[in-house]
C-alpha cells in the first residue's frame, strides 16, 4: 500500500518541481502576472524552442523555420566544415535583400562599429561623401573647405583607385575604410572625371572634417536677389539659414533662392524647422508608419521669414530632408522648384543593435509630402525602376556639362534660370504696383 502511494506521488512531485523550475524567475521577481502570462504562452514558446514542424509551416514564422531547417542540414551534412555564424549572417542579408529596400541592411559587428564611428564624427578623412552608383564608387560631393575640396575633388568623380589599388566591385564602406586614416597622413585617389580622357591622380592629406552648413550669395545686387545654399541638415542649419538671410537682408534682399543642390539631408526636425521659415501654417511632412498610420508634422508658427518670392534649387543629389523641404514649399505653393528631379529618398531608418554587437537598420517609416506624394524611388526584384520618386521641379533645367564646380556661376544654368525667373517676378510686381 505504501509503495503504491509513493509511485503515485513521484510523478506529481516531479511535475511540480518542473513547474517550479519554470516559474522560478517569476517567483523571484514576485510577479504573478508575468507567471500567468508565461503559462499562457507556454505552448507556443515551447514549440518555438523545439522548432516543431508546425512552426515552420506557420506563415509568420516561415523565414525562421526554413532558416533553421536549412542550417541544421548544412551543419550536419555539408561535405566541408562550415562556419555557422557566417552562414547566419549570409541568411540575414539574403532575407533583408528580399525586401528590395537598400536602406534596410544588416551590419556585422565590424561594419556596425565603423558606422558608429561615422555617426560620432571622431574620424579623420578627406571630407567627401561617397555613393555607389551602378557598381561604381562616386563622389557624392566634397564638403566645402575639406581636404578633398581643396585638392580639387569634384562631385560626380568616379573613384577608380585608392592608393593605386583598384576599388572596382568593392562596397562603399570598404572604400571608405581605405580612404580613412590617421590625421595628417596622405591618401592618393585615382579619379575618373566626366569629359576627361585621362585619369586624375590626387593626393589628399587626411584631416578632421568639420562641415560648414550655410552660405549666402547676392546674385543680383540691384534687384536684391539673394541665395542661401544649405549643404546639409544638421543642428545648426536653421540658425545659420536665418543668419545668412539676415546678412542678405542687410544688403537689400527682395527675392530668395534656397539652394538645396547636393544636400543629402540629415535631421528631420531640422527639415521641419527650415520649412517653418517659409511656411507659416500647415503640414510640412507626413510620416507614414507601418500599417499606414500617418503622423502629420506641422510648421511651427511665427517663425516664417518675410514672404520673399522664392525659388528652390534642387538636383538629383538633393535627398531626404532636402526633398521634404522642397516638397512642402511646392505643395504650399510657396515657391517654385527649379533644377532636376531629386534623389528619391524619403525613408527613416531605425537601427536596432543585436545581441552579438551586430545591428540591423530597418526602414521604419516613410515621408510623404503634405499632398500625400510618396518621395521614394522604388526598384523591383530585377533592379528595374518601378517608380522614380523624388521631387520633379516645376522648371526642369539640366546642368551644363561644362560646370566644373558648384561655385562656377558662369556655367550654372540652373542658378541662371532661377535668377532670371525672380527678375521677371520682381519686374512684373513692379509693373503691377506702378499701375
Amino acid at each position: 500500500m505504501r509503495r503504491l502511494s509513493v509511485s503515485g506521488i513521484i510523478p506529481l512531485l516531479t511535475t511540480l518541481a518542473f513547474i517550479a523550475g519554470f516559474f522560478y524567475q517569476d517567483m523571484q521577481a514576485g510577479s504573478l502576472r508575468r507567471a500567468l502570462h508565461a503559462a499562457q504562452t507556454l505552448p507556443q514558446r515551447v514549440s518555438l524552442v523545439l522548432q516543431t514542424e508546425q512552426d515552420s509551416q506557420q506563415g509568420h514564422l516561415w523565414p525562421v523555420g526554413l532558416y533553421w531547417d536549412a542550417l541544421s542540414h548544412v551543419r550536419t551534412r555539408y561535405y566541408q566544415p562550415v562556419n555557422e555564424k557566417q552562414l547566419t549572417y549570409a541568411a540575414i542579408r539574403g532575407m533583408l535583400a528580399a525586401l528590395h529596400d537598400p536602406y534596410t541592411r544588416f551590419m556585422d559587428p565590424n561594419e556596425y562599429r565603423s558606422m558608429q564611428e561615422d555617426t560620432r564624427g571622431d574620424f579623420f578623412g578627406i571630407g567627401a561623401q561617397l555613393q555607389e552608383k551602378e557598381g561604381q564608387i562616386v563622389i557624392y560631393r566634397p564638403i566645402e573647405g575639406s581636404p578633398a575640396d581643396k585638392a580639387g575633388v569634384k562631385a560626380g568623380d568616379v573613384i577608380v583607385e585608392v592608393d593605386r589599388k583598384p576599388v572596382a566591385g568593392m562596397r562603399v564602406d570598404e572604400v571608405v575604410k581605405k580612404i580613412r586614416g590617421p590625421r595628417g597622413t596622405k591618401v592618393e585617389l585615382t579619379l575618373k572625371r566626366k569629359g576627361e580622357s585621362k585619369l586624375l591622380h590626387i593626393t589628399i592629406v587626411r584631416d578632421l572634417i568639420t562641415s560648414p552648413v550655410a552660405y549666402a550669395y547676392m546674385e543680383d545686387e540691384k534687384l536684391g536677389i539673394g541665395r542661401v545654399r544649405l549643404e546639409q541638415f544638421n543642428e545648426k542649419s536653421d540658425q545659420l539659414l536665418v543668419q545668412k538671410v539676415r546678412e542678405l537682408e542687410a544688403k537689400g534682399l527682395r527675392a530668395l533662392i534656397l539652394d538645396l543642390r547636393y544636400n543629402p539631408g540629415g535631421l528631420l526636425n531640422m527639415a521641419v524647422d527650415v520649412a517653418s521659415r517659409f511656411i507659416d501654417n500647415g503640414v510640412v511632412v507626413l510620416v507614414q508608419e507601418k500599417n499606414g498610420q500617418i503622423t502629420r508634422l506641422y510648421a511651427e508658427r511665427g517663425r516664417a521669414l518675410k514672404p520673399y518670392p522664392l525659388v528652390v534649387l534642387v538636383n538629383e543629389w538633393s535627398a531626404s530632408a532636402s526633398e521634404i523641404v522642397a516638397g512642402a514649399i511646392r505643395d504650399h505653393k510657396r515657391g517654385i522648384i527649379i533644377g532636376e528631379t531629386t534623389f528619391g529618398k524619403g525613408l527613416v531608418q531605425t537601427i536596432f543593435q543585436l545581441q552579438d554587437n551586430s545591428a540591423v537598420a530597418i526602414t521604419t517609416a516613410k515621408y510623404l509630402t503634405p499632398s500625400g506624394y510618396d518621395l521614394n524611388r522604388k526598384v523591383d526584384a530585377e533592379g528595374k525602376e518601378v517608380r522614380r520618386g523624388g521631387i520633379e521641379p516645376d522648371i526642369v533645367v539640366k546642368q551644363s556639362e561644362e560646370m566644373t564646380d558648384i561655385e562656377d556661376r558662369a556655367h550654372d544654368l540652373q542658378l541662371q534660370k532661377a535668377v532670371e525667373y525672380l527678375r521677371e517676378q520682381l519686374t512684373a510686381a513692379q509693373v503691377a504696383s506702378s499701375r
Binding site: 518541481a17 532558416y67 533583408l96 544588416f106 572596382a168 507601418k290 530597418i362
Partner: protein, 463 residues
Amino acid sequence: MNVLSLRRVLFGGVLLVLAFLGGWWLRQQMAALPIASAHPSARLSSLEEYSPQQDTPTPSAASENISPISMDLMQLFYSVYKYVEKQHVEYTPELAKPMAYGAVRAMLQSLNDPNTRFLDPEEARLWQEAAKGTYYGIGAVMTVVRKVTEDVERRELTVVAPLPGSPAEKAGLQPGDVISEIDGRWVIAYDPFLQVRRSGARGSELVKALEEARKRVVAGLDLRKALGMLTNKDQPPMTLTVRRGNTTLKVKVNPSVLRVEPVTYRLMADGLGYLRIAQFHAETPEALRRALAGLGNGLRGLVIDLRNNPGGSLESASQVAAMLVKSPTLALMETRQGETKRRQPVTINANPRVKAPIVVLVNRGTANVAEVLAVALRDKANARLVGERTFGDGLIQTFIPLSDGSALTLTTGKLLTLSGGDFHAKGVYPTVAVPTAQRLGQDLALERAVGLLSARTTTRRAS
C-alpha cells in the same frame, strides 16, 4: 531506514532536482526568444535614427549547453526577422516567403559551392522529376564546374551529358560543352570587376574595362536564371553559344519534355548482348532486371553502354551494381564528421546475374555514380573500359526537401573508388582508348567492344 528506502529517497530527490532544472532550463530557452512585446517602437526624430540601447533580447547563459547549434544564432536571425515584421514600413505577410527563400538561398550561396543550392518549390519539382527520368527543356544533365584561371574563379555551366533522344542531343551538344551564352546573353561565369581589378589595367584602358564589365553584368544571366531557361519546356527555341575545347560554336536547341528510358537492350550477332543504361533513377533497377531476363542466360558477352550516363541516385546505382558485380561494396563515400572526414563503404547486396565477359563503354558524359559503377565493373567483374576518359564528378548532391515544398541540394560527400581512388575533376581512364563520337552512323567504340568480346570468346573456345 534501510538501504533500499534511502536509495529510493535519493532517487526521488535527484528526480525532483532534475525536473526543477528542466523547467528552469526550458524557461531560459524561452527567455532567449523575443516575443512580440520585446519590440520597441521607433521614435521619429531623425532620418537615420540611431538607437543602440534598444530593448533587444539578451542571450541566456543556458543556451550554450542546449545543443551544439547555437541558440544565439537562431535568436539573432529571429530578432532581425521580428524587427522587420514589426517595424518595417512596407512589410506585408506576403513578404515572409520571399524573405525565407532569400535567406536560405543566400546562406547556401555563401558556401561558394555552385552545386549546393536552394530550390524553390517549382525548381524542386523539376529536380525530382529529373531524378525520376523526366526532363524539361533541353534534356541535358548540367553541372557547374569551378575553375581558377589567372587567379579568377570561373563557374562554368557545363553539359555533363545530353540524354538520349533529347533536344540537346539532336542539337549536337556534347559532354563537357560549356554553355557561355543563351541567345547572345552572357551566362555570368565570373566577377568581371574582379578580373579587371586583377588585370593590372591602367588609365583609359582601365576605365574602358570597367565600363565593359558593368555592361556585361547588367546584360548577363546569372546561373540560376540560365538553368531556369534551359530547364523550361515552354522556352522558345534558343541559340546557345558553346565552348568546346578551344573552339566556340553556336547551337540551336528546341526545348521540350523528355522521358528517359533508363535501360535499352538488344541481342547482337554471335550471342553478344548490348545494354545501355542511360541514367540511374528509381526505375532503373527494375528495367535492368527485365533487360537481363530479355537477354537470356546464354550470353557469350555483354556490352554495357554507360556513355552519356550522367549518374543519378546512388541507391539506384547500388541496386544495379548488385546485379552485375560480385562484390560486397560498390565504392567508398567520404563524408564529414565534425571537423574531420571519414570514409565509409557503400555496401551492396551482390547477386550478379551476368556470367559472361563484360565490356563497358564510357565517355566524357559518363559521370558520378556511373563512373563508380564502371570502375567497380573493371575491378570486380574483370570488365574492360572502352572509350574515353570520363567526366570526373565524384561529389554527391543530396536532395533535402524542406517543409514547404522547397528543397536544398547539398554536397554531402564525395565518391571514391573501392581502392580509395579520387576521380573527381580527373575522370577515369579507359582500358582501351577509342573516340566515341559516332561518325556517319559508325560506332567505333561499340565495334571495338564487340571485337574484344569476340576475340575473348574465340580464345576461350580455342582453349
